[in-house]
């Protein structure tokens, strides 16, 4: 096991899969000469050449659309959309094309495409560059949506996504690239899509989260432990298809659930999970399910206001104490 950053993990996954399969190539804005705006693909142009590392114009629709076309024709493109906020410019290609082709043409067309993109707030980038609209993309059958929260999951899930036959929307978090963690050295280390993972065992309360908020939730769990509260933390890792079985099993044990997401509360992932848990484990719940999410405002630039809007460790602790009736 090596200890590496999320950035290195994603970079390794891409590099290994490009060496493994010559059909894999990367396409996007500033991924080549610049080296990637988050430096994930630094050195790739020298290593793989211009055919496989394709700098594009600033034109998100055709970046995704051309990648879909290349996938139809038997290649395995990994398209990079610089931030998830720009994916809206390619929304029609993502939801009306990538997500539909296989079904609409009765299985004749395959679209083994990965769209890598970067979401999340907290960097004072203002309202249009700080969104966490992951749930929007998770709404559409036909897409798989993945959002890792650790270096190992980032690497293993990206490798699985590249080898998958379906379009995968792969959401990285802008403030997690420097996060370090252990990653297996195996070239074939894969993490399955569609499997939630228990990141911390506990017996008193279940906290469900993913991506950056997984780390915030784990920090909250550590603080709660100091107060004698033993939280179980479950990492969704995949938003579609959503694996709720470990959540339901955990709630049967803890009888209390808090869902933490960075995106807005309304129509959010917390709402979906609360609904599913209510359907499957209503009788096991000892308290109403609580959601911790972003304030329902566009994110402001001002650092203090931005942090007020984003879920914090204290918010999670407060919600946990609510469901335990100890506030």
């Amino acid at each position: 096991m090596a200890v590496i950053t999320v950035r290195e993990a994603i970079s390794q996954a891409l590099r290994e899969e490009m060496h493994r399969d010559e059909r894999v190539f990367i396409i996007g804005e500033e991924i080549g000469r610049w080296g990637g705006t988050y430096a994930v693909t630094r050195g790739f142009l020298d290593e793989f050449g211009e055919t496989r590392v394709r700098d594009t114009p600033i034109a998100e629709s055709v970046i995704v659309g051309a990648a879909i076309g290349a996938a139809i024709a038997g290649l395995r493109p990994v398209a990079e959309i610089m931030t998830i906020n720009f994916a809206f410019l390619a929304m029609d290609q993502i939801v009306n094309h990538a997500a539909k082709l296989h079904y609409m043409f009765n299985g004749q067309i395959r679209c083994p495409l990965v769209i890598r993109t970067v979401g999340g707030g907290g960097r004072q980038l203002g309202a249009t560059h700080s969104q966490t609209p992951d749930v929007v993309f998770a709404h559409f059958p036909g897409l798989k949506v993945v959002a890792p929260g650790t270096p190992a999951d980032a690497k293993g899930l990206l490798k699985t996504a590249i080898r998958d036959e379906d379009p995968v929307f792969f959401i990285e978090h802008a403030t997690l690239y420097q996060m370090r963690g252990e990653v297996p050295d195996d070239d074939d280390f894969l993490v399955p899509i569609g499997v939630s993972d228990i990141k911390r065992q506990g017996k008193d309360v279940t906290i469900v989260s993913y991506s950056k908020m997984l780390q915030v939730s784990l920090e909250a769990a550590s603080k709660l432990a100091e107060e004698g509260i033993d939280a179980e933390v479950i990492d969704l890792r995949t938003l579609r298809p959503l694996d709720t079985r470990p959540i339901v099993e955990s709630v049967r044990k803890t009888n209390r659930l808090v869902v933490v997401e960075e995106g807005w509360r309304g129509y959010g992932i917390g709402a979906e999970i609360a609904s599913q848990v209510s359907e499957k484990a209503f009788d096991q719940l000892d308290a109403p399910i609580r959601r911790v999410a972003q304030a329902e405002v566009p994110l402001p630039y001002n650092r203090r206001l931005e942090q007020m809007a984003l879920p914090q460790v204290a918010d999670i602790i407060h919600a946990v104490k609510d469901v335990m009736y100890i506030n």
Partner: protein, 337 residues
């Protein structure tokens, strides 16, 4: 109308054999009758959703597909029945798709606007205006990536030359010199809005100048002119980069079924009907001694007999089974545990 055809001499017989010429004629006639029959079946309630007919535009698909090689790729918009037939898809399975049957080219799950056949490198039938342009561009990218001589014919209506996809796709194809022919079927109306009301440039081939790519305009009512122009364009894109070709045409019927057609005059429709691609080609074939009226009539009768079989097959085919609802959402579905 601001739109004027470039003056060019119509080709004589393009060096094609009598058999080849008669096959072009047969295809155009079959498509015309297929479309007329589709309208009947729609009115009778056997076809649902939208139905966009190709009547009046047959020469483009037939001429272009004559030039397109089997290894090449085809993308079209949603006015696609004629393209499917000209590309060689089974007309029976095409009609079955219109009726939503299991035997349809898309298993009854695509419908009129979403015909496709991977075996024919026909990647659809796409119903979002302009949405297929980036994908067609990407198939061109794959050809260059793999180093194979496979060109792409991307067919679009003039209405989609005003959407951002057109600019993004042609710009990228030009920067990367991709082997894509963008063939604009300019039938002069985007739904009910005429080209001069919607587009700053009515002769849309001129937009190729903005990207410094090869461009030309042909009479879309002349099957041989289309054939020769597409053939030349395909040769160009294999060697060089993208090509913008405009075929000027006209749809005789509404945008889709139920179009009240308040946006144009009957006289205009009659004027274009007088330039009918099928009748004109029939006259040409007779004038050059390729066929006489009796031989053409034989073709008509063969098409009528085939049409009976096409409709019988479609009507008698089974509905998709219930399981089909859940199939092909994913190649690798992940079942709930």
């Amino acid at each position: 109308m601001a739109l004027e055809l470039l003056k060019r001499e119509a080709p004589t017989l393009s060096g094609l054999s009598p058999e080849e010429l008669l096959e072009l004629y047969r295809q155009m006639y079959l498509i015309r009758r297929f479309e007329e029959k589709s309208a009947e079946l729609y009115t009778a309630g056997l076809i649902g959703g939208f139905l966009h007919l190709y009547i009046g535009e047959e020469a483009i698909a037939v001429g272009a597909c004559k030039a397109l090689q089997a290894r090449d790729h085809l993308f079209t918009a949603y006015r696609d029945h004629g393209w499917a037939i000209a590309r060689g898809l089974d007309p029976k399975a095409t009609m079955a798709e219109l009726l939503g049957k299991a035997t349809g080219v898309s298993g009854g799950k695509g419908g009129s606007m979403h015909l496709a056949s991977a075996a024919h490198h026909y990647w659809g039938g796409h119903a979002i205006v302009g949405g297929h342009l980036p994908m067609a561009t990407g198939v061109g990218l794959a050809s260059r990536y793999k180093g194979v001589d496979e060109a792409v014919l991307c067919v679009l209506g003039e209405g989609s030359t005003n959407i951002g996809y057109f600019h993004e796709s042609i710009n990228l194809a030009a920067v990367w010199k991709l082997p894509v022919v963008y063939l604009v079927e300019n039938n002069q109306y985007g739904m009910g809005t005429s080209v001069d009301r919607a587009s700053a440039v009515s002769n849309v081939f001129q937009r190729g100048c903005a990207y410094e790519i090869a461009n030309d305009q042909v009479n879309g009512q002349d099957v041989l002119e289309v054939y020769e122009a597409v053939k030349e364009a395909l040769e160009h894109v294999r060697r060089e980069g993208p090509y913008l070709l405009e075929a000027v045409t006209y749809r005789y019927v509404g945008h889709s079924m139920g179009d009240p057609e308040r946006y144009r005059q009957k006289a205009e429709i009659e004027e274009w009907r007088a330039r009918d691609p099928i009748q004109n080609f029939a006259q040409k074939l007779q004038a050059h001694g390729v066929a006489d009226a009796a031989q053409l009539e034989q073709i008509h009768q063969a098409c009528e007999a085939e049409l009976v079989e096409i409709v019988r097959f479609a009507e008698e085919s089974p509905e998709p089974p219930d399981e089909a609802l859940w199939e092909h959402v994913y190649v690798n579905p992940i079942e709930p545990q």
